[in-house]
Symmetry: C2
Subunit: 97 residues, 2 copies
């Protein structure tokens, strides 16, 4: 993944909602599409952006493809964000220990 | 802030680099611009996107405007990311405690 593709993938509300659904359980593209008013091709496009950003994985399960959350990229973003919350080497800070 | 504006702001490499500089110390737009090959107007545009996303704040200091990191939005993203790393209610998981 690149930070660019990750943050771009996360910048869309539909895609963030898909991630929330997949947090609850693995789902097929059809099950995900049913949750939205958007067309299936639109949802497929969102899924492919999330997959390119490695935020989700897909796996064939019989006739259908199951999508699941890929937590490792969330861990990478978490680490990246944490760096900014470490105390500054000097200068004023509004954060208390 | 909205998640949309935050993630859009973070999806650009120059903007992420600006944030890393501001993590070290507060800087003026001129000091920031000197660090990049891009033109000053380009850097100003990036600064305004970061400001709109509340990732940075500006404050007048004499003749110039000082930019500083606004850690509270980083904390919000951290919380948002953490939700996805909590254990799923059921189903398979590849995360060990």
């Amino acid at each position: 993944m690149t930070k660019q593709s990750t943050f771009q993938a996360l910048s869309d509300g539909t895609r963030r909602q898909i991630l929330r659904y997949l947090k609850e359980r693995d789902m097929t593209a059809g099950e995900i599409a049913e949750k939205f008013a958007s067309s299936k091709p639109t949802i497929s496009h969102h899924l492919s952006i999330l997959k390119q950003a490695d935020l989700i994985s897909d796996q064939r399960s019989g006739q259908s493809i199951m999508y699941s959350l890929n937590t490792s990229v969330f861990e990478e973003i978490l680490e990246w964000i944490m760096e900014f919350l470490e105390k500054k080497p000097d200068g004023p800070t509004d954060r208390k220990a």
